[in-house]
Amino acid sequence: MGYGSVIKVPFGPQHPALKEPEHFTFEVEGDVVVNVKPRIGYNHRGIEKAFERRTYIQNIYLAERICGICSDAHTTCYTQAIENLLGVEAPPRAKYIRVIIAELERIHSHSLWVGIAAHEIGFDTLFMYVWRDREVVMNLFEMISGNRVNYATNTIGGVRRDIPSEMFPKIKKGLDVLEKRLKYYLDVAQTEQTILKRTSGVGILKPKDAVELCAVGPTLRASGIKNDVRADDPYAAYDEIPFNVVTHDGCDVLSRIIVRCKEMFESINIIRYALDHIPSGMIRVRVPMAVPEGETVSRVEAPRGELIHYAKSNGTMQPERYKVRSPTLGNIPALCKMLLGGRVADIPIVLAGIDPCFACMDRMAFVDLKTNKKWVWTMDELKEHVRRNNL
């Protein structure tokens, strides 16, 4: 290629393929992507600062609103962190309820993603039917928690609402319907030519790259790496519930679809097991309003991958510092790798392939995406930067 053949294609922050504002600059040679430069931060809402201005109880609901899709993962992670600081543990029944809600959320998030992936490859028929059947799990949520999206189930020291045993048959019935439908969609994903032609061999992420670039969640598992916080570092009641970590070694978008579909079956089995083995007893322990001094890290396997919360308390009713590392941020370097060498028309589906959630991701962080180096600035360095750039 001669001089001038590389064209920069700006993508976003307003773009029909992404429902959230994020910018990527693609350098293309003909139809092939040769370089990707992400520019994150359009959705920065100052949530971490807001954490410092609210009490621990109020922060549960703030954590829930970091992301609309994985709202339960964020509250589970938050409450676990604060429970760590307080030195309390949720009662066994509460842990099982947390698992049930978390797995229902995984089903709803993954089926939402299957719909979006179908939409990105122009297969809107599948998108419509998957979302129609997703209503089953949404209705279950409304019945269990009183809301379709923000379940507000977790609280520090347990859960706020019990699942009465009258609901169990209804939940199981819903799961049966879902299982039947999901089996059909998995079959469609593996046989339908529309999907196979657009996704197989697209967005390749080799296992070595996936590990080196710190990919997380289904993106990593679709590259054949067995990694799941639920199995590696069990929280809630995951240590008592048998389940398989689904992997697939296709390394492409198709295997990401298959991994997510199969994970939904695992989730259904986990919920069935949890409903059959749920212990009786209390659902929460009362905790004091003020949290003793200390710092902690909490990990949860959100539908999109490993979610990390860091909390630092100073003995008052408000945290001193709160930090969230959402799975999408972990997947961005891997995403850039996947896009290289691909075609422009495949950009939307590869982007959608990591199940990006930019609302989750955008917060203050210094990450050099080329070397994956992370660092923190001191106050003086920040001041110096402001002075230098006349900000």
Partner: protein, 113 residues
Amino acid sequence: MSLIKEALKQVLKKPATLNYPIEKVPVPEGFRGRPIWDMRKCIGCGLCSRVCPSGAIEMIGKGPQAEIKHYVDRCMFCAQCAESCPRNAITMSQEYELADFDRSKMVYEYKHV
């Protein structure tokens, strides 16, 4: 082409979507709708306004004669107020059609009787 059967089946069925607002589904029991204060039970402790994560509850005055102002435009229906209330004076109702073009109309006032 494997979805053709599915699509044809759906053609013969009613649409999956609801004809809202003409057609509505009842919300389940335990739905978190607009919170309602029972002022006969309220002791004016102010806990609800202190715990509210979005600052949607305002208390005017102090003690048993205090008035409650609930800004439903700020409310996010988390039900923490109902949970924290020591007298169970707050219940989450089944009302959910609360949108309005005028924010000043979205304030609910509760006075002691």
